[in-house]
């Protein structure tokens, strides 16, 4: 059922993508781009494959901010970007697992998402191979003193997603941490190929449950870009409202979880209350606690009633009252500060190398926020400050979250004040001429979510690439544990709170 591959050959339109055009490059320009990534002149945004080509999206330091390039691979291989620029390594391994395209000269030949359990090799590639053997995974090595291994997961002790961590340690001193992910790989790439827009939107909403609004928004924006659909102004406001409510709920949840890992139950309980009230309000305003499937290409599927707006005002008032108290509780509890300050430090250089977004990037001095950098509607209308810090430790990541909470509260208030009237979904029709491509970069609570898709004229998705911010955050967790002890890892991990599901797809 490999729809995508058949259609690529008979494509009737020149490859172009909106709002950022896609260009096909030769090997030399591809490598030149990779080298400029390694030098830090540009930042890698994503790297993804198709049956016979690979695409790369980079952030430019000047306008337009985004550049998408394509390298055709006639021999099923492409020059490795990861060889020059390590952040691309895992993306390349994933491309090889799913599409069978080989990165030439890569230092890391191991599989990433493929654990040898699917019964098939390269499920999205031109040729699937039936596979019945699973190769053992070789972890990276350590030397020196007698070390022991601590394998943790995929079934963790807490209520969290599955992933495998492997510590090499001498007592409490961690010598190396290696992640092995891919346990929740659900084959989203192939499910998307051949799906209708409605179904694709449903799948996109279930890529990562905590960022369902962000993913729906990114998917909708990409579709709208591809078909040049105008979104009613009220819908953009309501989308922003949902996105900010999701951000608030998750940040409160995260701060509580971080404190709970330090066994500070009081904070956890208080945060739980705030989070619960936000979710309940979301349910009464939009009909779903996590606001899943509430955004559709062209607008939103629900409108906000007047009485709901009043309730939201009350909620914002209450949270604004609670936040300073909670900040004081966090800042004044010395035993808690003792745990968070100086724990899990990430350097600014590393964050910039990995183009790491969200609170992790902002806590280490990379102030990138798609709401400001891309400026999608309605954010240019709002005045808000992005939290920033240079410390890069767990404490800084909590404070950045507090700053984002304050900013979100301010935005929610502005939305409620200024939201225009009118319809919430615009009528739009499929153009029925040729295949279109669209891309979008949206700021979720965790960082920037990137979506690129190609849709046939009859509304069937050919290929949809969803890139979670966690791709560039997970590797940094391996570095964050340096100079920390085993027992401090949960705290570092929670302060990152990367997505497993969004990463594994």
């Amino acid at each position: 059922m490999n729809f995508a591959s058949k259609q690529t050959a008979t494509q009737s339109s020149p490859p172009s993508c909106l709002p950022w055009p896609r260009e096909i490059v030769d090997k030399a320009s591809w490598l030149a781009l990779a080298e400029s990534l390694a030098k830090g002149e540009r930042e890698l945004l994503s790297l993804w494959g198709e049956t016979s080509c690979v695409h790369m999206a980079v952030l430019e330091p000047r306008e337009p901010r985004l550049r998408i390039v394509t390298f055709e691979c006639p021999e099923d291989s492409f020059p490795s970007v990861g060889r020059l620029h390590p952040p691309a390594l895992r993306l390349e391994r994933a491309i090889h697992d799913l599409y069978g395209l080989k990165p030439e000269g890569t230092p890391d030949h191991r599989a990433w998402l493929d654990h040898g359990r699917w019964g098939v090799r390269q499920p999205c590639g031109a040729r699937h191979e039936i596979n019945t053997v699973c190769d053992p995974y070789t972890f990276l090595t350590t030397e020196g003193e007698p070390l022991h291994l601590i394998p943790v997961g995929p079934v963790h002790a807490g209520i969290i997603e599955p992933g495998h961590f492997r510590f090499s340690a001498n007592g409490e001193t961690v010598v190396r941490l290696e992640e092995r992910l891919g346990f929740v790989h659900k084959g989203v790439d192939r499910l998307m190929g051949g799906a209708s827009i409605e179904r694709a939107a449903q799948i996109a909403a279930r890529v990562s449950g905590d960022s369902t609004v962000a993913y729906s928004l990114a998917f909708a924006q990409a579709v709208e870009a591809a078909f040049d659909v105008a979104v009613p102004p009220r819908a953009t406001y309501l989308r922003a409202l949902m996105a900010e409510l999701e951000r608030l709920a998750n940040h409160f949840g995260d701060i509580g979880a971080i404190c709970n890992d330090a066994a500070f139950a009081l904070m956890h309980a208080q945060r739980g209350l705030v989070r619960e009230r936000i979710l309940r309000e979301a349910a009464s305003c939009f009909g779903h606690r996590l606001m899943m499937d509430r955004i559709a290409p062209g607008g939103t599927v629900v409108n906000l009633r007047q009485d709901n707006a009043a309730a939201l005002y009350a909620l914002v008032d209450w949270i604004e009252l609670m936040t300073p108290r909670l900040i004081a509780l966090f800042g004044d509890t010395t035993s808690l500060q003792d745990r968070t300050v100086g724990t899990g430090v990430i350097s600014e250089a590393l964050v910039k190398q990995y183009a790491c977004g969200g609170y992790i990037g902002r806590a280490s001095g990379r102030a990138f926020d798609a709401r400001k950098a891309i400026g999608y509607a309605p954010y240019p209308q709002f005045a808000f400050e992005i939290g920033a810090s240079k410390e890069g430790d767990v404490d800084a990541r909590v404070w950045v979250r507090f700053d984002e909470i304050k900013a979100s509260l301010k935005i929610v208030r502005q939305i409620l004040d200024e939201a225009p009237g009118g319809p919430v979904i615009g009528a739009w029709a499929l153009p029925e001429d040729w295949t279109r491509e669209g891309a979008a970069l949206v700021e979720g609570f965790r960082g920037d979510v990137f979506v690129w898709l190609r849709i046939r004229a009859d509304g069937v998705v050919q290929r949809c690439h969803l890139r979670d911010p966690s791709w560039f955050q997970w590797p940094l967790l391996e570095a964050a544990i340096k100079d920390n002890i085993v027992a401090d890892f949960p705290l570092c991990n929670k302060s990152f709170n990367c997505s497993y599901s969004g990463h594994d797809l």
Binding site: H148, H156, F264, A487, P490
Partner: protein, 317 residues
């Protein structure tokens, strides 16, 4: 007749300790839940949990040895014996002269020794984490306890708990050394029972556990015994603090039923107060870093040593 009464009183105390210990845990959980705006589980819940565990089958790891299977019984028995040697509502019970304060502490040390070995028996990394942390904490907590014992024994002139309690009840005066010993004992009690800020009894994180990490492999009746033992240990420490430093209302073994009833009431009240303070303390603090715990315990050790020196040198402070 007298002998029979003594025997009954001793047996009653043993069963009382056993019955009360899980309720104590239930009470702490309830209080903590209330402090966090929750309704919380019923106080009887830990008993229900233990009974449930007793009814379940045991899943043993393939390479579990006889040591792994006998350790829970040993740990439970040692802790129970130690706990029933501490006077709860009455002093001078029948077997109280079988072991003094030093022996009680050493019995707990034996229980710890076997628990740490059991943690290493399966050969998983979590067991090792728990055992090595326990060995580190234990190596500081036990000397601190011995110092406290020295102080108290010098003051009272005996290491027999019943005699100490009787002396303390009869000589209610403020002494700097005794105060220091009390603080040191509180520190040791928190560390030994794996409470916040040393260990988190409610944690779900393998990598931060101490006690939980060692028992991660245990199931069914073995787990029930270990849970019961850790409940008994908490009871023991609270009883110990109550009997040495606050011996109000303690009955003598020959004082008759009425005094014993008063002693019992006072004892339950003391437990409740102790638990209340524990719950408050635990909710208002975050857990320490693993390598801060030795500092915390070191403070206990130094306080204990200071108290001992004070008694040695001055005999009056």
């Amino acid at each position: 007749m007298n002998f029979l009464f003594d025997l009954v009183a001793q047996g009653a105390q043993m069963l009382l300790a056993l019955a009360l210990a899980p309720l104590l845990i239930g009470f702490v959980r309830k209080l903590k839940a209330r402090l966090l705006h929750r309704k919380g589980p019923p106080i009887i819940q830990p008993w229900r949990d233990i009974i449930r565990l007793l009814r379940k089958e045991v899943v043993l790891a393939e390479n579990a040895s006889w040591l792994y299977r006998s350790a829970p019984y040993l740990i439970f028995a040692m802790t129970w014996v130690a706990a029933s040697l501490v006077p709860t509502f009455a002093t001078g019970l029948m077997f109280s002269w079988a072991a003094d304060l030093i022996a009680i502490i050493a019995l707990l040390g034996s229980a710890r020794f076997f628990l740490a070995l059991a943690g290493m028996d399966i050969g998983t990394s979590f067991g090792g984490i728990g055992s090595s942390r326990e060995a580190m904490f234990g190596s500081l907590a036990e000397p601190a306890t011995i110092m406290i014992v020295f102080t108290v024994s010098f003051v009272a002139g005996t290491t027999q708990l019943s005699e100490i309690a009787a002396y303390m009840a009869g000589n209610l005066e403020l002494r700097a050394s005794v105060g220091m010993a009390l603080v040191a004992l509180l520190i040791v009690a928190i560390a030994e029972n794996g409470r916040v800020p040393v260990d988190n009894p409610a944690t779900h994180l393998e990598l931060t556990m101490v006690h939980e990490a060692m028992v991660l492999e245990y199931s069914g009746r073995y787990l029930a015994l270990i849970e019961l033992a850790s409940a008994l240990k908490l009871l023991l420490y609270i009883s110990l603090i109550a009997c040495v430093f606050f011996p109000v209302g303690l009955a003598r073994h020959d004082a008759g039923l009425q005094a014993m009833a008063i002693g019992l009431g006072a004892y339950v009240l003391k437990l409740a107060i102790g638990e209340g303070l524990l719950a408050l303390f635990e909710t208002s603090r975050a857990k320490m870093r693993v390598f801060r715990v030795p500092d915390f315990l070191g403070a206990g050790l130094m306080l204990g040593l200071l108290a001992t020196l004070l008694v040695f040198v001055t005999r009056s402070l």
